[in-house]
């Protein structure tokens, strides 16, 4: 809206927009199925409840599940309890369900998300590209406590980040938060040391190599299991560190990539550049 529009109209319009959305969303949630009292099978994709794709596929191929008179599924599908640190060769093998969805079932989306982040970082770097100008000395030097503290904290934060993505398939977390945590550690270094610059070439190589690793893992799946981003490793025993196939490999790649990327973004934001067009 133009600047000379009276403020009252702006506010009324804003309220109107908000009201429309509130009504829409309210309606959406009211008419949404509740978890209780309603046959969830009619609402949620019936086959997801199975948690076992092979069985579901068999049932699907038999043509039963999209017939009109559907029965509750639990009666037909045999239920087998999963025991931590005991059960082996599960379909997916990750103790963390979120991770198994994110990296395994919908791994292609994750590859896309990593790419989105990569491209956003590339875009920022392309816009801020130019000849680097040596930053002026700040007027206030960071205190000694800050200087020492960030360096100590960096080690801890770095370790924590690595822990988060290495344990992605077991505990909450994964590549994205892990990488972000590492990047915030590096941000701390920027704050605590005057004129700190990371190794740019190193960051770039790191970023590229981890991205390449992700895609190559996918391609290995394509050539060994005949499907892009398919799990080509044994799933192991649930709960072990070495389990869940390629999930941890992918998470390591993602973690390194996200960490180096965000660090590079912070670096290019902080550093002063001068535009140059030949």
């Amino acid at each position: 809206m133009k600047n000379d529009t009276p403020k009252v109209f702006k506010s009324i319009f804003a309220l109107f927009v908000v009201a429309i959305f509130m009504i829409g969303l309210f309606y959406a949630f009211v008419s949404m199925p509740k978890g209780w009292g309603v046959n969830v099978n009619n609402r949620v994709s019936r086959l997801y409840i199975l948690k076992n794709v092979r069985t579901a596929t068999r049932l699907l191929d038999s043509g039963k599940f999209f017939a009109k008179g559907m029965k509750p599924l639990r009666a037909e599908v045999p239920y087998k309890p999963i025991k931590f640190k005991k059960t082996a060769n599960l379909e997916d093998g990750a103790a963390n369900v979120v991770t198994s969805i994110v990296v395994d079932y919908r791994g292609f989306d994750t590859l896309g998300e990593v790419t989105v982040l990569f491209l956003a970082a590339s875009g920022v770097m392309m816009l801020l590209f130019g000849k680097r100008v040596k930053p002026k000395r700040k007027k206030t030097e960071p205190s000694l406590i800050m200087y020492v503290g960030t360096r100590i904290a960096f080690a801890v934060i770095f370790l924590f980040g690595i822990y988060i993505f290495v344990h992605g398939h077991l505990t909450p977390g994964g590549g994205f938060p892990g990488g972000a945590v590492i990047a915030s550690g590096i941000l701390g270094l920027f704050l605590g040391r005057n004129g700190y610059t990371p190794n740019h070439a190193g960051l770039k190589v790191f970023e590229s190599l981890s991205g390449i690793a992700f895609v190559i893992i996918g391609l290995i799946g394509l050539f060994s299991v005949k499907s892009f981003l398919a799990n080509f490793l044994p799933t192991g025993i649930i709960g072990n560190l070495y389990s869940a196939g390629f999930i941890s490999l992918i998470y390591i790649a993602i973690g390194m990539k996200v960490g180096s990327e965000l660090a590079a973004v912070v670096d290019s934001m902080i550093g002063d550049t001068k535009e140059e067009w030949s």
Binding site: F176, A180, V181, L187, V265
Partner: protein, 84 residues
């Protein structure tokens, strides 16, 4: 118990987001946005989504706030240059 804590968090989120919108100073807007992210992160945790909560805390409350502050600083630098 959790429901009370969650309610308080929600109230904090609403208040901080209102501050972010109506504040005249951009810096305080950015800081309150960081607070919103922090609150949301807590809310995610209460809603049993720890994965999302960690990510939100690291990116929303940490990195993006920092990047906003840096950007603001750069913009201000550009403004003063123009005035000179």
């Amino acid at each position: 118990m959790i429901i009370y804590v969650a309610t308080i968090v929600v109230i904090v989120i609403i208040i901080t987001s209102l501050i972010a919108v109506f504040s005249k100073k951009l810096l305080s807007s950015i800081i309150s946005m960081g607070l919103v992210s922090l609150g949301v992160s807590g809310l995610f945790f209460f809603l049993q989504a720890p994965d999302v909560a960690i990510t939100e805390a690291a990116i929303g409350a940490g990195l993006s706030t920092a990047i906003f502050v840096i950007a603001l600083k750069k913009v201000k630098k550009g403004e003063t240059k123009d005035e000179e």
